[in-house]
Subunit: 663 residues, 2 copies
């Protein structure tokens, strides 16, 4: 499917008696006369210039004007680039605001209980609430309109499991908190630098398949962690792997435990899941599922307060201090013994948080039909986290469940985040004291109710169906998180993903091509069994875009082996004996010095067997380097380089007829 | 250069008024009806089966019979596979033997002084001689005919520098020796397993460019190490980097030193280099250069003995024990505190030794026109080293300088290695005592004389000319060895090489194609500026063989950006507006689930802009996965998948004319 002969070649029947160099088609000359491709330096300069070129931003608000009027000058443009709110804010109107307020209030009713629950998962007290400061910063800097910023389950788990290894929160809560804020600060700084240096591709390192497996594993791990709250256990393990947790639960259950916790947890979990089911069934009642967690907290707190169930073994939050979001700038520990561990944790958390936020943002942006600027998003997230770390917040990012609620509630811009943030702040400031009696089991049930959304079995099955190697990545991440730790899961997923790419480079396909009858199309005879091989011409396609040190020996040996086999098997009937080999290099975009030596050795081997070698359609960088290395003039010869396989085969056949007649 | 329209499409002028699905060319249907490509399991089974299939061996000896007679049965075949000597031995004759004896004796005269010198470089006493046992084992197992097995400079340096970090040989020579033998044993085991499990590609991980840089750096480092012997210094650094060595030399020169050493070293170095120059000039005198090192040792030892110069500050070997190659099996330390370090050192040494041996073997095999079996070579090398480790030898491999001498001296089979080995054994057994007076400066001059061959400036320049990235690898290895250590140099080279491959995968080219006038060939308009774009059809080629998580976002964004630009700039003149996009996927051999989502998103984006998308010539794995994922039926549509770009463009143009007429 690769090729054609020039029209001229098709029209003229092959009647020339000896090979006539002047028949070398004109198109073939183009291969050698192509301009010099951009060098490493030009490519690099181009990439940098493109990366830092100010773009006409797609804007964040509803129907905002795209180009700022010239009179505002460059200062406004720069400001607008950093703060998209300046762009869409000018066309913001009351109707949009009304939608955003409604969405913000709905979001707050879900955000309050989730903030408390996730703070508990991150092993922090409820006043370390992350739903207030980060959304405010994001609202003026972000480019997504629907995303809801705040704490998420996976990052909370990641943070608590990694920091617990450095300092046990039960032993030294002050240092634990200090490290959490430090990591949040560093993660923010990393995110900003990713955005500034256009390192958005780092987020792509975690493939979709890896994320599916990772999220499912994390959901199960988080669920198991909630057994502590659900069963009202006092002693529990700091490890997150399944084996440790099950051991801890078994040993804890041997001691007397209070079924009250379990009863409260289960009944509210069923309540929340039931309202969600109703909300899905009847779209109009979706607000029911949004406020059911808050309702659960209020009801259970009131019930415990009324019955004083905490005296009968029901665990309650207890540790509640007034004063939301005090400054935590003095707690940052940017030097000292834990800095390296903090930086390591911060970079992992930063990437995971960004991966989730950008995945969420992109999927909703694609529903609404606008485009997210990944680098700007990173800067906005980073700034939110830096601000958060200075005001007693831990890492915030875009939450999938809350973003979906925000979208369903009709949010039109990031103003809904501002409304949510203010509502949460006022509500918690007023009600923090009454959280004293909130049973921990209810927090566990709120977290548990959010987990099914993280396990996507359907997607895993479809990955299995389409791509077994991708499924292996998915499974690796899942098993790694479940039986190792969150970091091990990530490491396994990355290792499998990159091994896949390296294997693809080490063992590329090399295909024998045949001609489709009645056409001049050459394609792989394995993929298209109807294609017929040309007698006496072996056409081989090298299926790698980079012929380099890692695969050149393999390709060379494979090709030489084939040619030897062909020559040996066809020795008897001399007419069909292979006399020429056409190497289709149209897939080879680039080559390195090892690849060039491999070509030279193939040529030498063929010359020793008396076989003519032709090269068809090498890529731009490849032909340039072959010219520089002298392969074109010294080895293959200018007349044996063609634009298409068709032309090359034509020339080979012509030459053979010529020599046959001469004999 | 990629494509053709079917002959039919060329002949029939485009006159159909509405787009007629029945005009979908037959060739296009082939794309969807191609058989199922081999799955991961089949591929794996195929690779394993192929790897372990017994091959008809090319044989090692001169003109040996290729197939063993049937009556010997499978046992002989198996034995012959393991011991090629059984194959070529049957046709070995006296003439060949005479050539081999001459070559072996020449080799021995070079081997004796080099063995002693390299043992000194490896910080071992001269009786730990590696030129006896390993060549004997290699002779019956190896497939190369010219290679000369024994110690080489780079591996000696690598071993001494890495083991010195574990144990200082001056402080604890017994443990040092034990570790060297253990590492030799493990390296042998690793080499055998590489061969058995067909891991020959590991040797390719060090690209040619990396080896050029690495060897040059190692040569300079080895040369600097020789300053100790040449200047007769007593205290010297164990570090190998340039800075430490120069510091050590400077501080040593402040103490009084004896110019006698320097004088002896320099004069014999000049003598050896002069004989080599003569040997190169007059091919007949090449034996002069082969025996000049031995002559130097004899002359200098006699001179020192006669003048008792060792009393006046000339450093001599002194530590000489009789008894060559005693058993060292009891010294192996396969458990204990150093095992992990030993294994790490062993794997690095094993790979470096194999890289050198296979490079040497291949280049001489290619001169003589036979093919080396890489896996068999590895097993032979590994067995030689295991045997060597049990008889007080350190790692042996194929030496370039001695192999060249062996070849020039007319070696016809590995018998020359046996002759060399026996000669060295007898000579050293008889003369070991007299080595007491050999000045160390002469050993330094012998090692120094071998170094210029390791520095290949011409090759480095040609790498710079052809491929700047390869030169960076070369330079990285060179600078890493020179200013860091041997391991750092290797690590830098590997890191740069693999980064190159990953970058190539992360940022593939995406090219806009145009048609060559008068033909149906489509090729990149950047590479072939004469190619003309088809108005209203944007043809884009994806230049990566694996469309995967790491590059799918980049490719998607690049394509969408182009399409948006095209649509925006051509808004005014509606006739030229892009109405269809043809994605040429003929380079895309494989795809993963992220790549498939990227295709879906591109299609969605185009649909939202009212643009028709067609796909041309996807690879075998790619089309299979696209079918499985439902992209073909659900997204693109079966009628919009074509075998060639020509057909796809044809169909798009036809459709546009149809819609234009309808309007």
């Amino acid at each position: 499917m690769k090729d054609t002969a020039a029209a001229a070649a098709v029209e003229t029947p092959v009647t020339v008696s000896t090979f006539d160099v002047s028949r070398h088609p004109d198109t073939a000359r183009l291969v050698l006369s192509s301009p010099k491709p951009p060098g490493v330096r030009e490519e690099f300069v181009g990439v940098v210039r493109k990366a830092f070129r100010p773009r006409a931003s797609g804007g964040g608000g509803g129907g905002a004007g795209r180009t700022p009027p010239a009179r505002w000058g460059w200062a406004l443009t720069a400001l607008q680039t950093v703060f998209p709110v300046l762009q869409w804010g000018r066309t913001y109107n009351f109707n949009l605001f009304r939608s955003d307020v409604m969405a913000g209030l709905t979001l707050a009713s879900l955000g309050i209980p989730q903030s408390i629950g996730y703070a508990n998962l991150a092993k922090l007290d409820p006043q370390y609430d992350t739903s207030v400061v980060p959304p405010l910063i994001y609202a003026v800097m972000g480019t997504s309109r629907e995303i809801a910023i705040g704490p998420v389950a996976v990052v909370s788990l990641l943070l608590s499991s990694m920091v617990s290894k450095i300092v046990d929160p039960a032993v030294d809560p002050v240092t634990y908190r200090a490290l959490v804020f430090t990591i949040t600060f560093l993660a923010g700084v990393f995110q900003v630098s990713f955005g500034l240096f256009r390192l958005g591709f780092l987020v792509d390192f975690l493939s979709h398949a890896a994320i599916v497996g990772f999220m499912a594993g994390a959901a199960i791990v988080i669920g198991l962690q909630q057994l502590k709250g659900l069963l009202g256990l006092s002693h529990f393990t700091n490890s997150t792997d399944v084996v440790s947790v099950i051991k801890a639960v078994c040993s804890a259950l041997r001691d007397p435990w209070h079924p009250g916790n379990f009863l409260i947890g289960c009944s509210f979990l069923i309540f929340i899941l039931a309202t969600r089911f109703i909300g899905r069934r009847y779209k109009k009642l979706f607000w029911l599922s949004a406020i059911s967690p808050l309702l659960s907290v209020i009801l259970s707190t009131a019930a415990v307060y009324a019955t004083r169930a905490d005296k009968h073994g029901v665990k309650i939050i207890q540790r509640v201090q007034a004063g939301l979001n005090p400054s935590s700038a003095s707690q940052l520990r940017l030097s000292g013994p834990y800095t390296v561990e903090c930086a390591k944790t911060a970079i992992i958390c930063a990437v995971i948080a960004l991966t989730e936020a950008i995945a969420v943002g992109r999927s909703f942006a694609s529903i609404r039909g606008y485009k997210l600027d990944g680098n700007k998003e990173m800067i906005a997230m980073g700034c939110s986290n830096v601000a958060g770390s200075l005001s007693s917040c831990y890492i915030a990012t875009g939450s999938f469940s809350r973003t979906a609620v925000n979208f369903s509630a009709g949010a039109r811009s990031t103003v809904s985040n501002i409304v949510m943030s203010i509502t949460v702040f006022i509500a918690l400031e007023l009600l923090m004291k009454s959280l004293y009696y909130t049973p921990i089991a209810v927090l566990a049930s709120i977290i548990l109710s959010a987990l099914p959304g993280l396990i996507d079995i359907k997607e895993a099955l479809s990955i299995w169906k389409v791509d077994k190697m991708d499924f292996l990545t998915c499974l690796g991440a899942f098993v790694g998180v479940l039986f190792g730790s969150v970091e091990i899961g990530l490491a396994v997923a990355l290792a499998i993903s990159f091994t896949k790419i390296i294997i693809q480079s080490i063992r590329p396909q090399v295909e024998v091509l045949g001609r489709l009858q009645g056409t001049n199309i050459f394609c792989s005879i394995r993929q298209y069994p109807v294609a017929c091989r040309i007698p006496s011409v072996l056409t081989i396609r090298i299926d790698t875009s980079f012929l380099c040190f890692i695969n050149s020996t393999f390709i060379k040996e494979r090709i030489i082996e084939w040619i030897r086999e062909e020559v040996e098997t066809s020795d008897e009937k001399a007419r069909d004996r292979v006399q020429s080999v056409v190497l289709d290099m149209s897939n080879v975009v680039n080559i390195d010095t090892s690849g060039i030596s491999a070509l030279e050795e193939i040529h030498k081997e063929m010359a020793s067997l008396g076989i003519q070698m032709a090269i068809a359609g090498p890529g731009w960088q490849a032909i340039q380097k072959m010219k520089l290395a002298g392969v074109v003039d010294r080895v293959v010869g200018r007349d044996w380089i063609f634009l298409t396989v068709g032309e090359a085969v034509e020339a080979c056949v012509t030459m053979q007829k010529g020599t046959a007649l001469e004999c």
